[in-house]
């Protein structure tokens, strides 16, 4: 692991991505101390005399939104929302995907087949549409959104893990372990699971990018995290009709979402390169 980390810091783009992730994490953790204003504070001079949001300037570094709240403060607190959803939703998705994939791959037969047919079924759903429908009809909140995202995102992990487990289950060292009398639990946890760790780490990272984007999209459509709790997506949702007059309200949060997703994608891709040499250079 230390070798992997050293290798990662040697690549300029990955190093930059790691630093950006660090900035996002620190913003999320330190939001109450870093933010110049409270996220729902509406200072008396937060709007122009005509009632329009303020452009970026000396007092409000990134400007104010349509209600006169400080954009920087809302972005900092929004980082909490995005990261919590990113980590929780993606964590749950990876765990479900790993469980379904290993159990289906290891047990094989009717049961394994049935599990994989179910993932085929999930693949036939338009994921984003399904997420929108569920989030809209379930009275969206932070945790509902996280669960909805996990529910549509585990499928891909399950398929990759299934294929890998099938390959592992037929290897000689598993056969040897079986002949020595090891039980299924021991084989799964002691011998198969460690081989799946690289996949878990790679998807644990790449999936955060997907999750952050999905949360932003749901919030942008108004079915994600509900205002006044700030999330990067709903900041854009709240100001999209003003985007001609106050473009910074759309494009600053947009750039933050892009930079975060890009960083997690880059780090995930580098991890895949380093942890699994057979995947090197592939999409």
């Amino acid at each position: 692991m230390r070798r992997v980390f050293a290798e990662m810091t040697r690549r300029p783009s990955t190093l930059l991505a790691l630093l950006l992730i660090l900035v996002v994490v620190l913003s999320a953790l330190g939001a109450p101390w870093l933010a110049p204003f409270a996220p729902d504070d509406q200072p008396f001079d937060g709007l122009s005399l005509e009632g329009a949001p303020l452009a970026p300037g000396a007092k409000y570094w990134l400007g104010t939104d349509t209600l006169g709240r400080d954009l920087l403060s809302r972005l900092l607190f929004g980082a909490r929302t995005s990261l919590v959803i990113g980590l929780v939703a993606n964590g749950v998705a990876v765990v479900i995907g790993m469980l379904v994939g290993t159990v289906a791959g290891y047990s094989g037969g009717m049961f394994g087949g049935a599990l994989m047919r179910f993932t085929d079924l999930m693949m036939a759903f338009p994921a984003l549409l399904l997420a929108i429908v569920l989030a809209a009809l379930l009275h969206p909140s932070l945790w509902i959104v996280a669960m909805v995202i996990a529910l549509v995102n585990w499928v891909q992990v399950a398929r990759v893990v299934y294929t890998e487990t099938r390959g592992l289950a037929e290897r000689d060292f598993i056969l040897a372990e079986r002949s020595l009398g090891a039980g299924h639990g021991r084989i799964l946890f002691r011998h198969i699971a460690p081989h799946l760790m690289p996949t878990a780490i790679v998807y644990g990272t790449l999936g955060i990018a997907t999750t952050v984007l999905l949360e932003a999209t749901l919030s942008f459509l108004g079915v994600g995290v509900q205002p006044p709790q700030p999330s990067w997506g709903n900041i854009i949702f709240e100001s999209q009709s003003y985007f001609q007059a106050a473009p910074w309200l759309v494009f600053i949060p947009g750039a933050v979402i892009l930079a975060t997703a890009l960083s997690f994608n880059l780090v995930g891709d580098t991890l895949r390169d380093l942890l699994d040499p057979t995947q090197r250079g592939r999409g």
Partner: protein
């Protein structure tokens, strides 16, 4: 081959049946009560019960599903709770707009993917190669709605080259199609690049070069046809991605397709329309995969024998 394909079709039908069942159950167990919504805020319990009875929502669940399924086989997707018209008619009326959007989006994606992919493969580690890698990463990391708003801001609001929203003329389709196509183009370019690199290393390409053919001819006539196969498969698989993207893009550009229909229906808890659009989208995904399977042997005679 024929029997393999027949097997695929049966599988596809089963998957659609499963999609219908899962959608039905999901919507049935959601907390939103369509009967209460239709009856209105001032309705009393009796009125809500009447509406529920009218819609057949008081029947046992298996019977409701059976009625839904037998309707499906007749092409009947039920009636919209709010608009009172046939869901099938509503969806069919919206399909042309979505089809135009998807086809132009795919066109943008594939055209850009091919050009950049070939350039990157021919000049490895050159400028195009780096551009492709960057574009691919930025593409998968970009929130589609931000790109949509960015294009609107620059090309419609500031430069005034294209209309802000609406539907009808070729100018209307440019920005939505770009939004759908740009983000995926980088990924297609990566696929084309690696397929082309594989092909370019093969003996027959060297032979073609050795007998004096120009690079241009070797690439376009000898190498490219063999690199197309993964692209076709990818388009088929990508339909699902597109069906989701369509909801966002149609919402931002006010494009009157099935994405917009679904979006309105979701806000009104118009369950029959939501189910209808989900089914039609799944049908598109399943058909896309089938089509990719069917086209592969046409493009690659080596697969035909199997």
């Amino acid at each position: 081959m024929a029997s393999l394909f027949a097997q695929r079709i049966v599988q596809a039908a089963l998957i659609l049946l499963g999609v219908a069942l899962v959608t039905f159950l999901l919507l049935h167990y959601l907390p939103a009560d369509p009967a209460a919504l239709i009856a209105g805020r001032s309705a009393n319990a009796q009125m809500i019960a009447n509406v529920r009875h009218q819609l057949g929502l008081d029947l046992p669940l298996p019977l409701q599903f059976w009625r839904y399924l037998s309707g499906l086989l007749r092409g009947d997707l039920g009636r919209s709770y709010i608009q009172r018209s046939e869901v099938a008619t509503l969806i069919v009326a919206r399909i042309p707009a979505t089809l135009v959007l998807m086809l132009t989006g795919i066109l943008v994606e594939v055209a850009l993917g091919l050009v950049f992919g070939i350039l990157a493969a021919v000049k490895r580690n050159g400028f195009a190669d780096r551009a492709v890698m960057t574009l691919a990463f930025v593409g998968v990391s970009s929130p589609q709605f931000v790109i949509a708003l960015l294009l609107l801001y620059v090309f419609a609001a500031e430069l005034g080259w294209f209309p802000m929203s609406g539907y009808g003329t070729p100018a209307h389709v440019v920005l939505p199609a770009l939004t759908l196509g740009l983000l995926g183009a980088g990924w297609y370019a990566r696929m084309v690049r690696s397929a082309m690199i594989d092909v370019l290393n093969q003996d027959y390409v060297r032979t073609a070069r050795a007998k004096g053919l120009s690079w241009r001819r070797v690439i376009l006539r000898h190498a490219l046809p063999n690199a197309l196969l993964p692209i076709v498969a990818m388009i088929g698989i990508d339909i699902g991605q597109f069906m989701g993207g369509v909801v966002v893009v149609e919402a931002v550009y006010g494009w009157p397709g099935i994405g917009q229909l679904a979006w309105q229906a979701i806000q009104q808890v118009d369950v029959p329309i939501i189910m209808g659009v989900t089914l039609v989208s799944s049908l598109a995904i399943v058909l896309g995969n089938l089509l990719a399977d069917a086209v592969a042997p046409v493009l690659d005679p080596r697969i035909r024998g199997r």
